[in-house]
């Protein structure tokens, strides 16, 4: 067999095993809307850990982080800091969100805003911003699959058809199974990903330099400034690092899917324990960085940094191993992509379409509409992935600049009883508007600070000012009629 055939067969086998595990997980369970979206709120520490890890360690971590280590150098270290700090933040907000979710039967982030602020326009706005921010994140995953298959076929298959197959698979997978399948496929994916990362991170420096230490020595000798900030960039210095780490660590659980993943937990304590354990998972990423840095010397001059990891693996290991890495990478893209599609479809059907156009819809009908939305979203993201190609990290940071604008509304909503819907709404619009303005006019970073972070500061300021100038409404009147007393009062 040719190397390409060995490699592609391995990838195909891994994806097939992953998919079968997913289908088996969904069998013999009645799939009502709650089971499909939040797994019946019965996940223990292990499953929540896997589900969250499944969302976190995406193609971005696999190809994007190593790609930036290759092309940008030092500034990439922000990834290690922000993931760890995101879990620190999660300790203080996720258990509270879970508690509120249980009391009000929430399934989505938009449900949270509706129950807390009683303003359907605010909830609808949260819903739309969330879905729009998913687009670059989804595009990132699908582009990733295309790159993987194209490199694994030794450039025999174009990325386009590979992306189409991946989208078809994941749409089928999500429509049938919902969130429980995703958590179980994560097991296959995580085991492979950790093994692959260790093998690559240790193996590549060992093969080409005789170890990790000598590799870094050689790199420092050849490119003395690559490993510190601003590395190979002009404007990504320390101020950028601090502002970006703050933006992304605060925004991490504001992604609608991560937010909703906390509802799958069995108890608030599950989430607290998770916050203690999750930082350790970030260690895997360090190994991926080693490979990215080694690639600077081993395969210099690649047109696209995102190709660095797989190219260096192809140069260092036999085809079957490239197949294993490619298979892990493909699952790494498909698992999160199915979570994004699942979340976005639920948001659209439950929080946008039903309240605005068809208030009489039953849960079963919403479930069906969500499945149709899954297909539509899959096709939209495929089209985007086929026709545009920024780097994976810049796609991710664009999404973050948007979703982090939910942070003031969530945190103040949990801890400041007085905060008003009007204030949060004004802050959200100003934050999203500010971020869009700065990014579309190429003012990111501005004065060395990340644009999304500046927008977040503006957002916070406006929420506080507007809340303080509007007269305090009594709690009873600010509640939407029919809802139970808000958990924050208890």
């Amino acid at each position: 067999m040719s190397p390409a055939a060995v490699c592609l067969a391995t990838i195909f086998a891994i994806v097939a095993v992953g998919t079968i595990v997913g289908f088996l997980a969904g069998v013999r369970r009645r799939m009502d809307l709650e089971q499909w979206t939040v797994g019946g709120r019965g996940f223990g520490v292990a499953l929540v850990f896997l589900l969250m890890a499944g969302e976190v360690y995406t193609t971005f971590a696999f190809l994007g982080a190593s790609g930036w280590a290759y092309s940008r150098g030092g500034p990439t270290l922000y990834v290690l800091a922000y993931l760890t700090l995101a879990y620190v933040v999660s300790f203080f907000i996720l258990p509270q969100i879970w508690e509120a979710g249980r009391r009000h039967g929430m399934q989505t982030q938009s449900d949270f805003f509706l129950a807390r602020y009683g303003n359907p326009w605010l909830a609808g706005c949260v819903c739309i911003v969330g879905i729009v921010c998913f687009v670059p994140y989804l595009q990132l995953q699908i582009t990733g699959v295309g790159l993987i298959v194209s490199i694994a076929s030794y450039d025999g298959i174009a990325p386009g058809p590979a992306m189409a197959v991946a989208v078809a698979l994941l749409v089928a997978f999500v429509c049938v199974n919902g969130v429980r399948a995703v958590a179980w496929v994560s097991i296959v994916k995580d085991v492979l990903m950790v093994l692959a990362a260790l093998a690559i991170g240790i193996g590549v420096p060992l093969i080409h330099f005789g170890g990790i230490g000598p590799m870094f020595r050689a790199l420092v000798h050849a490119h003395p400034t690559h490993l510190t900030m601003p590395g190979a960039t002009r404007n990504l210095g320390h101020a950028w690092f601090i502002s970006t780490v703050l933006l992304t660590s605060l925004g991490f659980y504001m992604w609608p899917h991560s937010f909703a993943a906390s509802f799958t937990a069995r108890s608030a304590d599950t989430l607290r324990r998770n916050a203690v354990v999750m930082p350790l998972y970030t260690l895997t990423l360090a190994f991926i960085f080693f490979a990215g840095f080694a690639a600077v010397l081993v395969v210099p001059g690649l047109p696209n940094g995102d190709l660095a990891l797989l190219t260096v693996v192809r140069q260092s290991f036999p085809p079957w191993f490239l197949g294993v890495v490619g298979g892990a990478g493909a699952l790494t893209a498909m698992v999160p992509a199915s979570i994004f599609i699942l979340t976005a479809a639920t948001l659209f059907a439950k929080n946008l379409y039903r309240p605005l156009f068809a208030p009489a819809m039953s849960d079963a009908q919403v479930g069906r509409l969500a499945r149709v939305t899954v297909v539509v979203l899959g096709l939209i993201s495929l089209c985007l992935a086929l026709f545009s190609s920024p780097t994976l990290v810049s796609l991710l940071l664009t999404g973050y600049a948007g979703v982090t604008q939910f942070f003031p509304g969530v945190v103040l909503g949990l801890y400041w009883p007085r905060v008003s819907a009007r204030g949060v709404f004004a802050g959200l619009l100003a934050g999203v508007g500010g971020a869009v303005f700065l990014m579309t006019t190429h003012r990111d970073p501005l004065f060395g600070l990340s644009a999304g972070f500046l927008a977040l500061c503006l957002n916070f300021l406006i929420v506080v000012i507007v809340t303080l100038v509007t007269p305090a409404v009594s709690r009873e009147r600010s509640q939407r009629p029919g809802t139970v007393a808000w958990a924050a009062d208890a």
Binding site: L80, Y87, F92, R217, R272, L283
Partner: protein, 72 residues
């Protein structure tokens, strides 16, 4: 909803200071530790130490919840 205790918040601030705000102090290559440039070594060490901090926070909050249950 119960607010976190000042002690817990202070402990949680430690990883933020170490991994984020103090970046100009540790963003350098020398001295290399265990073959890693200093900035990379520092961050990897703090991934583990942050988990330790959060474990302390968890114990602290658990103890507080238990104390509140005993004396309502």
């Amino acid at each position: 909803m119960r607010k976190p205790s000042p002690g817990a918040l202070l402990l949680a601030l430690v990883p933020f200071v170490a991994m984020c705000f103090s970046v100009p102090l540790w963003d350098r290559i020398e001295p290399m530790v265990l073959g890693l440039p200093f900035n990379l070594f520092w961050l990897i060490a703090w991934i583990v130490l942050s988990s330790g901090c959060m474990w302390l926070v968890y114990r602290l909050e658990c103890a507080r919840a238990a104390a509140e249950q005993r004396a309502p």
